[in-house]
Amino acid sequence: MSVFEGFKFRRVYSPIHQLDPRVKFFYVLAIFVIAIMFNQLLPLILLFLIQLPFVFIAGVQREWIRSLRGALLFATMIFVFNFVFTYFWTEYPLLPSPSLLEHSIAMTLRFIVLVESFSVFFLTTSPDHLGLALEQSHVPYEFCFAFTTAVRFVPVLAEEAQTIMDAQKARGLELERGNFIKKVKNYIPVLIPLIVSAIRRSLELAEAMESRAWGATKKRTNLYVLRMKRGDYVLILISATILILAAYFWIFYREQIPLLSSLLIPLRLAAA
Protein backbone atom coordinates (compact mmCIF):
# COMPACT_ATOMS: atom_id res chain seq x y z
CA MET A 1 0.00 0.00 0.00
CA SER A 2 2.85 2.38 0.77
CA VAL A 3 3.74 2.71 -2.93
CA PHE A 4 0.25 4.04 -3.62
CA GLU A 5 0.44 6.38 -0.65
CA GLY A 6 3.26 8.10 -2.48
CA PHE A 7 0.94 8.89 -5.36
CA LYS A 8 -2.12 9.96 -3.44
CA PHE A 9 -3.03 13.59 -3.90
CA ARG A 10 -3.40 15.76 -0.85
CA ARG A 11 -4.93 19.21 -1.22
CA VAL A 12 -2.29 21.81 -0.29
CA TYR A 13 -1.29 25.05 -1.90
CA SER A 14 2.07 25.67 -3.45
CA PRO A 15 3.29 27.23 -6.69
CA ILE A 16 3.73 23.70 -8.04
CA HIS A 17 0.13 22.73 -7.22
CA GLN A 18 -1.10 25.80 -9.10
CA LEU A 19 0.64 24.79 -12.30
CA ASP A 20 -1.32 23.62 -15.30
CA PRO A 21 -1.40 19.81 -15.29
CA ARG A 22 -0.68 19.73 -19.00
CA VAL A 23 2.55 21.62 -18.41
CA LYS A 24 3.48 19.40 -15.50
CA PHE A 25 2.84 16.39 -17.67
CA PHE A 26 5.13 17.80 -20.32
CA TYR A 27 7.82 18.18 -17.66
CA VAL A 28 7.36 14.59 -16.47
CA LEU A 29 7.52 13.42 -20.07
CA ALA A 30 10.75 15.34 -20.63
CA ILE A 31 12.32 13.73 -17.56
CA PHE A 32 11.04 10.35 -18.71
CA VAL A 33 12.58 10.69 -22.17
CA ILE A 34 15.92 11.88 -20.82
CA ALA A 35 16.05 9.06 -18.29
CA ILE A 36 15.53 6.57 -21.10
CA MET A 37 18.16 8.27 -23.30
CA PHE A 38 21.04 7.92 -20.89
CA ASN A 39 22.26 4.81 -19.17
CA GLN A 40 25.27 6.33 -17.45
CA LEU A 41 25.27 7.15 -13.79
CA LEU A 42 26.39 10.77 -14.02
CA PRO A 43 23.48 12.19 -16.05
CA LEU A 44 20.99 10.15 -14.05
CA ILE A 45 22.32 11.60 -10.80
CA LEU A 46 21.88 15.07 -12.28
CA LEU A 47 18.36 14.16 -13.35
CA PHE A 48 17.61 12.99 -9.84
CA LEU A 49 18.94 16.17 -8.26
CA ILE A 50 17.20 18.49 -10.72
CA GLN A 51 13.83 17.39 -9.36
CA LEU A 52 14.56 18.02 -5.70
CA PRO A 53 13.73 21.78 -5.76
CA PHE A 54 10.32 20.78 -7.13
CA VAL A 55 9.59 18.48 -4.25
CA PHE A 56 10.60 21.09 -1.70
CA ILE A 57 8.70 23.98 -3.30
CA ALA A 58 5.61 21.77 -3.42
CA GLY A 59 6.16 20.81 0.23
CA VAL A 60 5.41 17.13 -0.38
CA GLN A 61 8.71 15.78 0.97
CA ARG A 62 7.08 13.37 3.37
CA GLU A 63 4.79 11.73 0.82
CA TRP A 64 7.57 11.79 -1.74
CA ILE A 65 9.99 9.95 0.55
CA ARG A 66 7.25 7.45 1.27
CA SER A 67 6.84 6.79 -2.45
CA LEU A 68 10.58 6.20 -2.76
CA ARG A 69 10.55 3.92 0.22
CA GLY A 70 7.69 2.03 -1.41
CA ALA A 71 9.75 1.68 -4.57
CA LEU A 72 12.69 0.31 -2.61
CA LEU A 73 11.79 -3.34 -3.09
CA PHE A 74 11.55 -2.97 -6.87
CA ALA A 75 14.70 -0.90 -6.91
CA THR A 76 16.62 -3.61 -5.08
CA MET A 77 15.29 -6.20 -7.50
CA ILE A 78 16.34 -4.15 -10.49
CA PHE A 79 19.77 -3.71 -9.01
CA VAL A 80 20.26 -7.41 -8.31
CA PHE A 81 18.95 -8.49 -11.72
CA ASN A 82 21.12 -6.01 -13.55
CA PHE A 83 24.16 -7.02 -11.60
CA VAL A 84 23.66 -10.76 -11.96
CA PHE A 85 22.45 -10.78 -15.57
CA THR A 86 25.07 -8.42 -16.93
CA TYR A 87 27.65 -10.48 -15.14
CA PHE A 88 26.59 -13.79 -16.65
CA TRP A 89 25.19 -12.72 -19.99
CA THR A 90 28.01 -10.63 -21.32
CA GLU A 91 30.21 -12.54 -23.67
CA TYR A 92 33.33 -12.19 -21.62
CA PRO A 93 32.30 -12.51 -18.04
CA LEU A 94 34.04 -9.83 -16.09
CA LEU A 95 34.81 -10.05 -12.47
CA PRO A 96 32.43 -7.89 -10.44
CA SER A 97 34.14 -4.68 -11.44
CA PRO A 98 33.43 -1.10 -10.40
CA SER A 99 32.02 -0.42 -13.87
CA LEU A 100 29.56 -3.27 -13.57
CA LEU A 101 28.53 -1.99 -10.20
CA GLU A 102 28.11 1.48 -11.62
CA HIS A 103 26.01 0.22 -14.50
CA SER A 104 23.63 -1.59 -12.10
CA ILE A 105 23.35 1.47 -9.91
CA ALA A 106 22.58 3.59 -12.97
CA MET A 107 19.76 1.28 -14.05
CA THR A 108 18.31 1.36 -10.54
CA LEU A 109 18.55 5.12 -10.42
CA ARG A 110 16.78 5.36 -13.76
CA PHE A 111 13.83 3.55 -12.23
CA ILE A 112 13.94 5.79 -9.18
CA VAL A 113 14.01 8.91 -11.32
CA LEU A 114 10.90 7.71 -13.16
CA VAL A 115 9.08 6.94 -9.91
CA GLU A 116 10.21 10.28 -8.52
CA SER A 117 8.88 12.34 -11.42
CA PHE A 118 5.53 10.56 -11.66
CA SER A 119 5.13 10.74 -7.92
CA VAL A 120 5.70 14.51 -7.94
CA PHE A 121 3.17 14.82 -10.73
CA PHE A 122 0.43 12.88 -8.97
CA LEU A 123 1.21 14.35 -5.56
CA THR A 124 0.77 17.89 -6.84
CA THR A 125 -2.03 17.47 -9.38
CA SER A 126 -5.60 17.15 -8.16
CA PRO A 127 -7.49 14.47 -10.07
CA ASP A 128 -10.05 17.19 -10.73
CA HIS A 129 -7.48 19.23 -12.62
CA LEU A 130 -6.32 16.14 -14.39
CA GLY A 131 -9.84 15.45 -15.61
CA LEU A 132 -10.13 19.06 -16.67
CA ALA A 133 -6.85 18.84 -18.55
CA LEU A 134 -8.17 15.78 -20.39
CA GLU A 135 -11.36 17.65 -21.19
CA GLN A 136 -9.57 20.68 -22.54
CA SER A 137 -7.33 18.44 -24.59
CA HIS A 138 -10.52 17.47 -26.45
CA VAL A 139 -10.87 14.05 -24.91
CA PRO A 140 -14.64 13.24 -25.02
CA TYR A 141 -16.41 14.41 -21.86
CA GLU A 142 -17.86 10.97 -21.10
CA PHE A 143 -14.34 9.62 -20.82
CA CYS A 144 -13.14 12.45 -18.56
CA PHE A 145 -16.18 12.00 -16.35
CA ALA A 146 -15.52 8.28 -16.12
CA PHE A 147 -11.95 9.03 -15.12
CA THR A 148 -12.74 11.43 -12.28
CA THR A 149 -15.60 9.24 -11.05
CA ALA A 150 -13.29 6.24 -10.95
CA VAL A 151 -10.74 8.18 -8.91
CA ARG A 152 -13.50 9.38 -6.62
CA PHE A 153 -14.80 5.87 -5.93
CA VAL A 154 -11.55 3.97 -5.43
CA PRO A 155 -11.26 4.81 -1.72
CA VAL A 156 -14.99 4.16 -1.23
CA LEU A 157 -14.75 0.69 -2.77
CA ALA A 158 -11.59 -0.11 -0.84
CA GLU A 159 -13.37 0.71 2.39
CA GLU A 160 -16.38 -1.32 1.36
CA ALA A 161 -14.20 -4.34 0.55
CA GLN A 162 -12.77 -4.12 4.07
CA THR A 163 -16.26 -4.03 5.62
CA ILE A 164 -17.36 -7.03 3.57
CA MET A 165 -14.27 -8.97 4.61
CA ASP A 166 -15.02 -8.16 8.25
CA ALA A 167 -18.64 -9.24 7.85
CA GLN A 168 -17.62 -12.59 6.38
CA LYS A 169 -14.87 -13.15 8.92
CA ALA A 170 -17.50 -12.64 11.59
CA ARG A 171 -19.28 -15.61 9.99
CA GLY A 172 -16.22 -17.80 10.36
CA LEU A 173 -14.63 -17.26 6.96
CA GLU A 174 -10.87 -17.74 7.12
CA LEU A 175 -9.34 -16.10 4.09
CA GLU A 176 -5.85 -17.51 4.57
CA ARG A 177 -6.82 -21.14 5.03
CA GLY A 178 -6.02 -23.92 2.56
CA ASN A 179 -3.89 -24.30 -0.56
CA PHE A 180 -3.73 -21.80 -3.41
CA ILE A 181 -6.99 -22.85 -5.12
CA LYS A 182 -8.83 -22.87 -1.79
CA LYS A 183 -7.49 -19.43 -0.98
CA VAL A 184 -8.80 -18.02 -4.25
CA LYS A 185 -12.16 -19.65 -3.56
CA ASN A 186 -12.19 -18.07 -0.11
CA TYR A 187 -12.55 -14.68 -1.76
CA ILE A 188 -15.84 -15.51 -3.50
CA PRO A 189 -17.93 -14.46 -0.46
CA VAL A 190 -16.11 -11.13 -0.56
CA LEU A 191 -16.21 -10.56 -4.31
CA ILE A 192 -19.89 -11.26 -4.91
CA PRO A 193 -21.24 -8.70 -2.42
CA LEU A 194 -18.65 -6.20 -3.67
CA ILE A 195 -19.74 -6.62 -7.29
CA VAL A 196 -23.44 -6.55 -6.45
CA SER A 197 -22.95 -3.41 -4.45
CA ALA A 198 -20.89 -1.77 -7.20
CA ILE A 199 -23.68 -2.47 -9.69
CA ARG A 200 -26.28 -1.04 -7.33
CA ARG A 201 -24.06 1.96 -6.76
CA SER A 202 -23.65 2.63 -10.46
CA LEU A 203 -27.40 2.48 -10.94
CA GLU A 204 -27.88 5.04 -8.18
CA LEU A 205 -25.19 7.22 -9.70
CA ALA A 206 -26.87 7.08 -13.08
CA GLU A 207 -30.15 8.13 -11.50
CA ALA A 208 -28.50 11.05 -9.73
CA MET A 209 -26.77 12.14 -12.95
CA GLU A 210 -29.99 12.00 -14.93
CA SER A 211 -31.71 14.04 -12.24
CA ARG A 212 -29.12 16.74 -12.67
CA ALA A 213 -29.66 17.26 -16.39
CA TRP A 214 -26.92 14.96 -17.69
CA GLY A 215 -26.68 15.30 -21.46
CA ALA A 216 -29.01 18.31 -21.70
CA THR A 217 -26.79 20.01 -24.23
CA LYS A 218 -23.81 19.07 -26.34
CA LYS A 219 -22.19 22.40 -25.45
CA ARG A 220 -21.28 21.80 -21.86
CA THR A 221 -19.74 24.62 -19.88
CA ASN A 222 -17.26 24.27 -17.07
CA LEU A 223 -16.86 25.88 -13.67
CA TYR A 224 -13.09 25.68 -13.89
CA VAL A 225 -11.06 26.63 -16.90
CA LEU A 226 -7.36 25.93 -17.14
CA ARG A 227 -5.42 29.00 -18.19
CA MET A 228 -1.69 29.10 -18.71
CA LYS A 229 -0.02 31.52 -16.31
CA ARG A 230 3.52 32.85 -16.02
CA GLY A 231 4.65 29.93 -13.89
CA ASP A 232 3.45 27.54 -16.57
CA TYR A 233 5.50 29.25 -19.27
CA VAL A 234 8.52 29.19 -16.98
CA LEU A 235 8.15 25.44 -16.47
CA ILE A 236 7.75 24.85 -20.20
CA LEU A 237 10.90 26.82 -20.75
CA ILE A 238 12.79 24.86 -18.08
CA SER A 239 11.61 21.50 -19.39
CA ALA A 240 12.38 22.42 -22.99
CA THR A 241 15.85 23.69 -22.08
CA ILE A 242 16.69 20.52 -20.16
CA LEU A 243 15.38 18.43 -23.00
CA ILE A 244 17.37 20.29 -25.67
CA LEU A 245 20.56 20.25 -23.59
CA ALA A 246 20.15 16.55 -22.96
CA ALA A 247 19.56 15.86 -26.64
CA TYR A 248 22.63 17.93 -27.52
CA PHE A 249 24.83 15.97 -25.14
CA TRP A 250 23.35 12.72 -26.25
CA ILE A 251 24.05 13.41 -29.93
CA PHE A 252 27.55 14.77 -29.60
CA TYR A 253 29.05 13.54 -26.36
CA ARG A 254 27.20 10.31 -25.65
CA GLU A 255 30.37 8.21 -25.82
CA GLN A 256 32.46 10.66 -23.83
CA ILE A 257 30.42 10.66 -20.65
CA PRO A 258 32.89 9.41 -18.09
CA LEU A 259 32.23 6.67 -15.65
CA LEU A 260 32.12 7.95 -12.12
CA SER A 261 34.42 5.14 -11.03
CA SER A 262 37.02 6.24 -13.57
CA LEU A 263 36.79 9.75 -12.17
CA LEU A 264 37.37 8.42 -8.70
CA ILE A 265 40.56 6.54 -9.56
CA PRO A 266 42.67 9.63 -10.47
CA LEU A 267 41.31 11.29 -7.35
CA ARG A 268 42.46 8.39 -5.27
CA LEU A 269 45.85 8.42 -7.00
CA ALA A 270 46.19 12.12 -6.34
CA ALA A 271 45.37 11.57 -2.71
CA ALA A 272 48.00 8.87 -2.50
Binding site: E160, T163, I164, A167, K169, A170, R171, G172, P193, V196
Partner: protein, 273 residues
Protein backbone atom coordinates in the same frame (compact mmCIF):
# COMPACT_ATOMS: atom_id res chain seq x y z
CA UNK B 1 -18.89 -11.75 30.21
CA UNK B 2 -16.95 -9.10 28.31
CA UNK B 3 -14.24 -6.98 29.86
CA UNK B 4 -12.45 -4.17 28.06
CA UNK B 5 -9.51 -2.93 30.10
CA UNK B 6 -8.35 0.56 29.22
CA UNK B 7 -8.20 -0.16 25.51
CA UNK B 8 -6.75 2.20 22.94
CA UNK B 9 -7.01 1.76 19.22
CA UNK B 10 -5.35 3.68 16.41
CA UNK B 11 -6.16 2.96 12.76
CA UNK B 12 -3.23 2.49 10.35
CA UNK B 13 -3.89 5.98 8.95
CA UNK B 14 -3.12 7.45 12.36
CA UNK B 15 -6.66 8.21 13.54
CA UNK B 16 -7.08 7.35 17.20
CA UNK B 17 -10.57 5.88 17.40
CA UNK B 18 -10.47 4.65 21.00
CA UNK B 19 -8.54 6.42 23.70
CA UNK B 20 -8.86 4.51 26.93
CA UNK B 21 -12.13 2.59 27.10
CA UNK B 22 -12.93 0.36 30.06
CA UNK B 23 -16.26 -1.39 30.20
CA UNK B 24 -17.68 -4.59 31.59
CA UNK B 25 -20.72 -6.34 30.15
CA UNK B 26 -22.12 -9.20 32.22
CA UNK B 27 -23.65 -12.32 30.73
CA UNK B 28 -27.32 -11.74 29.93
CA UNK B 29 -27.09 -7.96 29.89
CA UNK B 30 -28.73 -5.78 27.23
CA UNK B 31 -26.65 -2.79 26.36
CA UNK B 32 -26.86 0.03 23.84
CA UNK B 33 -23.75 1.91 22.79
CA UNK B 34 -24.73 5.37 21.65
CA UNK B 35 -23.05 8.46 20.30
CA UNK B 36 -22.44 10.50 17.21
CA UNK B 37 -21.09 9.00 13.99
CA UNK B 38 -17.35 8.74 14.42
CA UNK B 39 -17.45 8.53 18.22
CA UNK B 40 -15.87 5.07 18.13
CA UNK B 41 -18.94 2.87 18.71
CA UNK B 42 -18.36 0.43 15.86
CA UNK B 43 -14.62 0.37 16.51
CA UNK B 44 -15.32 -0.66 20.10
CA UNK B 45 -17.64 -3.55 19.25
CA UNK B 46 -15.31 -4.82 16.53
CA UNK B 47 -12.91 -5.50 19.40
CA UNK B 48 -15.32 -7.95 20.98
CA UNK B 49 -15.12 -10.54 18.20
CA UNK B 50 -11.47 -9.78 17.53
CA UNK B 51 -11.89 -8.08 14.13
CA UNK B 52 -9.77 -5.36 15.68
CA UNK B 53 -7.16 -5.92 18.36
CA UNK B 54 -6.42 -3.09 20.78
CA UNK B 55 -3.15 -1.24 20.25
CA UNK B 56 -3.01 -0.87 24.03
CA UNK B 57 -4.94 -2.61 26.81
CA UNK B 58 -6.86 -5.85 26.40
CA UNK B 59 -10.30 -7.27 25.80
CA UNK B 60 -11.40 -10.44 27.57
CA UNK B 61 -14.34 -12.48 26.31
CA UNK B 62 -15.39 -15.08 28.87
CA UNK B 63 -11.96 -14.77 30.40
CA UNK B 64 -9.87 -15.21 27.23
CA UNK B 65 -7.92 -12.35 25.71
CA UNK B 66 -8.99 -11.58 22.13
CA UNK B 67 -5.33 -11.31 21.19
CA UNK B 68 -4.86 -15.03 21.77
CA UNK B 69 -7.64 -16.43 19.54
CA UNK B 70 -8.72 -16.05 15.92
CA UNK B 71 -11.79 -14.15 14.77
CA UNK B 72 -13.31 -17.44 13.61
CA UNK B 73 -12.90 -19.00 17.05
CA UNK B 74 -14.24 -15.94 18.87
CA UNK B 75 -17.18 -15.72 16.52
CA UNK B 76 -18.51 -19.00 17.90
CA UNK B 77 -19.33 -17.08 21.05
CA UNK B 78 -19.82 -13.61 19.60
CA UNK B 79 -22.31 -13.18 16.74
CA UNK B 80 -21.87 -9.89 14.91
CA UNK B 81 -24.63 -8.62 12.61
CA UNK B 82 -23.37 -5.88 10.33
CA UNK B 83 -25.29 -2.75 9.49
CA UNK B 84 -25.85 -3.46 5.82
CA UNK B 85 -27.04 -7.00 4.94
CA UNK B 86 -25.80 -6.47 1.38
CA UNK B 87 -22.26 -6.61 2.71
CA UNK B 88 -22.58 -10.29 3.47
CA UNK B 89 -25.24 -11.92 1.27
CA UNK B 90 -23.74 -13.85 -1.62
CA UNK B 91 -25.36 -17.31 -1.85
CA UNK B 92 -27.91 -18.58 -4.33
CA UNK B 93 -30.52 -19.41 -1.74
CA UNK B 94 -31.48 -18.17 1.69
CA UNK B 95 -30.87 -21.67 3.02
CA UNK B 96 -27.27 -21.68 1.73
CA UNK B 97 -26.73 -18.24 3.18
CA UNK B 98 -27.78 -19.32 6.65
CA UNK B 99 -25.71 -22.50 6.40
CA UNK B 100 -22.54 -20.65 5.33
CA UNK B 101 -21.21 -19.92 8.80
CA UNK B 102 -22.17 -23.39 10.07
CA UNK B 103 -20.05 -24.97 7.35
CA UNK B 104 -17.15 -22.70 8.26
CA UNK B 105 -17.47 -23.90 11.82
CA UNK B 106 -17.49 -27.54 10.68
CA UNK B 107 -20.94 -28.44 11.98
CA UNK B 108 -22.15 -31.90 10.92
CA UNK B 109 -24.60 -32.18 8.00
CA UNK B 110 -27.56 -33.13 10.18
CA UNK B 111 -26.82 -30.40 12.65
CA UNK B 112 -26.57 -27.79 9.86
CA UNK B 113 -29.95 -28.82 8.56
CA UNK B 114 -31.46 -28.64 12.00
CA UNK B 115 -29.96 -25.26 12.86
CA UNK B 116 -30.94 -23.73 9.50
CA UNK B 117 -34.55 -24.83 9.93
CA UNK B 118 -34.56 -23.45 13.45
CA UNK B 119 -33.08 -20.07 12.44
CA UNK B 120 -35.38 -19.62 9.45
CA UNK B 121 -38.35 -20.38 11.62
CA UNK B 122 -37.15 -17.97 14.31
CA UNK B 123 -37.14 -15.07 11.86
CA UNK B 124 -40.21 -16.25 9.90
CA UNK B 125 -38.24 -16.85 6.71
CA UNK B 126 -39.20 -20.49 6.15
CA UNK B 127 -41.21 -19.66 3.02
CA UNK B 128 -38.10 -18.11 1.42
CA UNK B 129 -35.85 -21.13 2.05
CA UNK B 130 -35.15 -21.72 -1.65
CA UNK B 131 -35.38 -18.07 -2.74
CA UNK B 132 -32.35 -16.03 -3.75
CA UNK B 133 -31.55 -13.50 -1.05
CA UNK B 134 -31.15 -10.85 -3.76
CA UNK B 135 -34.84 -11.16 -4.65
CA UNK B 136 -35.99 -10.20 -1.16
CA UNK B 137 -36.96 -6.76 0.14
CA UNK B 138 -34.63 -4.72 2.33
CA UNK B 139 -36.30 -5.72 5.57
CA UNK B 140 -36.28 -9.40 4.61
CA UNK B 141 -32.61 -9.27 3.64
CA UNK B 142 -31.88 -7.82 7.05
CA UNK B 143 -33.68 -10.78 8.62
CA UNK B 144 -31.68 -13.25 6.52
CA UNK B 145 -28.47 -11.61 7.74
CA UNK B 146 -29.73 -11.92 11.30
CA UNK B 147 -30.69 -15.58 10.81
CA UNK B 148 -27.30 -16.36 9.29
CA UNK B 149 -25.65 -15.21 12.50
CA UNK B 150 -28.12 -16.55 15.06
CA UNK B 151 -27.99 -19.98 13.37
CA UNK B 152 -24.92 -21.03 15.34
CA UNK B 153 -26.52 -19.81 18.56
CA UNK B 154 -23.81 -17.48 19.86
CA UNK B 155 -24.00 -16.41 23.52
CA UNK B 156 -23.27 -12.80 22.72
CA UNK B 157 -25.11 -11.00 19.89
CA UNK B 158 -23.88 -7.65 18.59
CA UNK B 159 -26.04 -5.60 16.21
CA UNK B 160 -24.48 -2.63 14.44
CA UNK B 161 -27.08 0.07 13.68
CA UNK B 162 -29.95 -2.42 13.38
CA UNK B 163 -32.63 0.23 12.82
CA UNK B 164 -31.08 2.12 9.92
CA UNK B 165 -33.37 2.17 6.90
CA UNK B 166 -36.09 0.24 8.74
CA UNK B 167 -39.65 1.51 8.85
CA UNK B 168 -41.72 1.81 11.99
CA UNK B 169 -43.21 -1.69 11.89
CA UNK B 170 -39.89 -3.36 11.08
CA UNK B 171 -38.34 -1.54 14.02
CA UNK B 172 -41.12 -2.68 16.30
CA UNK B 173 -40.63 -6.32 15.23
CA UNK B 174 -36.90 -5.97 15.68
CA UNK B 175 -37.40 -4.54 19.16
CA UNK B 176 -39.56 -7.45 20.20
CA UNK B 177 -37.05 -9.87 18.74
CA UNK B 178 -34.12 -8.33 20.56
CA UNK B 179 -35.99 -8.33 23.86
CA UNK B 180 -36.87 -11.99 23.29
CA UNK B 181 -33.22 -12.88 22.63
CA UNK B 182 -32.25 -11.12 25.81
CA UNK B 183 -34.86 -12.87 27.93
CA UNK B 184 -33.50 -16.17 26.62
CA UNK B 185 -30.30 -15.26 28.44
CA UNK B 186 -28.22 -13.93 25.58
CA UNK B 187 -25.98 -10.91 26.02
CA UNK B 188 -27.18 -8.35 23.50
CA UNK B 189 -25.21 -5.27 22.49
CA UNK B 190 -26.60 -2.79 19.99
CA UNK B 191 -24.75 0.11 18.45
CA UNK B 192 -27.14 2.86 17.50
CA UNK B 193 -27.95 6.53 17.43
CA UNK B 194 -31.69 5.89 17.27
CA UNK B 195 -32.75 7.51 20.54
CA UNK B 196 -36.45 6.70 20.32
CA UNK B 197 -35.67 3.03 19.68
CA UNK B 198 -33.47 2.87 22.75
CA UNK B 199 -36.07 4.77 24.78
CA UNK B 200 -38.56 2.01 24.06
CA UNK B 201 -36.15 -0.80 24.89
CA UNK B 202 -34.77 0.84 28.05
CA UNK B 203 -31.47 -1.07 28.16
CA UNK B 204 -28.22 -0.12 29.86
CA UNK B 205 -26.72 2.75 27.85
CA UNK B 206 -23.09 3.71 27.31
CA UNK B 207 -22.57 7.11 25.73
CA UNK B 208 -19.43 7.52 23.67
CA UNK B 209 -17.69 10.74 22.71
CA UNK B 210 -14.42 10.97 20.81
CA UNK B 211 -13.21 7.49 21.60
CA UNK B 212 -14.12 7.55 25.27
CA UNK B 213 -17.08 6.40 27.31
CA UNK B 214 -18.71 9.52 28.68
CA UNK B 215 -21.40 7.88 30.79
CA UNK B 216 -22.78 4.42 31.49
CA UNK B 217 -26.05 3.52 33.21
CA UNK B 218 -29.76 2.77 32.74
CA UNK B 219 -31.32 4.46 29.69
CA UNK B 220 -33.85 6.46 31.70
CA UNK B 221 -31.06 7.98 33.79
CA UNK B 222 -28.59 8.64 30.96
CA UNK B 223 -30.94 9.86 28.22
CA UNK B 224 -32.74 12.25 30.56
CA UNK B 225 -29.51 13.93 31.63
CA UNK B 226 -29.43 17.07 29.50
CA UNK B 227 -25.72 17.73 29.95
CA UNK B 228 -24.62 14.24 29.01
CA UNK B 229 -26.91 14.04 26.01
CA UNK B 230 -25.72 17.42 24.75
CA UNK B 231 -22.07 16.43 25.15
CA UNK B 232 -22.68 13.24 23.17
CA UNK B 233 -24.46 15.28 20.46
CA UNK B 234 -27.61 13.21 20.54
CA UNK B 235 -31.17 14.45 20.78
CA UNK B 236 -33.01 13.41 23.96
CA UNK B 237 -36.18 11.29 23.51
CA UNK B 238 -39.30 13.36 22.89
CA UNK B 239 -40.96 12.25 26.10
CA UNK B 240 -37.94 13.36 28.08
CA UNK B 241 -38.07 16.72 26.28
CA UNK B 242 -41.70 17.14 27.32
CA UNK B 243 -40.93 16.39 30.95
CA UNK B 244 -37.99 18.75 30.89
CA UNK B 245 -40.25 21.55 29.67
CA UNK B 246 -42.53 20.73 32.61
CA UNK B 247 -39.73 20.52 35.17
CA UNK B 248 -41.39 23.24 37.32
CA UNK B 249 -44.43 20.98 37.72
CA UNK B 250 -42.67 18.68 40.17
CA UNK B 251 -42.92 15.61 37.92
CA UNK B 252 -40.27 12.87 37.87
CA UNK B 253 -37.57 13.53 35.27
CA UNK B 254 -36.50 9.98 34.43
CA UNK B 255 -39.37 9.17 32.05
CA UNK B 256 -38.57 8.20 28.43
CA UNK B 257 -41.47 5.95 27.47
CA UNK B 258 -44.97 6.96 26.32
CA UNK B 259 -46.81 4.60 28.69
CA UNK B 260 -44.76 5.57 31.73
CA UNK B 261 -45.42 9.19 30.85
CA UNK B 262 -49.15 8.56 30.65
CA UNK B 263 -49.22 6.78 34.01
CA UNK B 264 -47.27 9.54 35.74
CA UNK B 265 -49.58 12.24 34.40
CA UNK B 266 -52.73 10.34 35.29
CA UNK B 267 -51.45 9.63 38.79
CA UNK B 268 -50.69 13.28 39.23
CA UNK B 269 -54.15 14.34 38.01
CA UNK B 270 -55.81 11.85 40.31
CA UNK B 271 -53.77 13.07 43.27
CA UNK B 272 -54.82 16.67 42.75
CA UNK B 273 -58.55 16.00 42.53
Amino acid sequence: MIEARNIHFTYPNGVEALSGVSVEVKTGEFMAIMGQNGAGKTTLVKHINGLLKPTKGEVLVNGTSTKKVSVAKLSREVGFVFQNPDHQLFCETVEEEVAFALRNFNFSKQLIKKRVTWALNLLSLTQYRQTSPFMLSGGERKRVALASVLAWNPDIVILDEPTIGQDHQQKEKLRQFIVQLNTQGKTVIIVTHDVEFVAECNPRVALMVQGKILADGPANKILTNRDLVAQASIVPPQISQIFFELSDQDLPQDIINVYDARDVIIKRLEAST
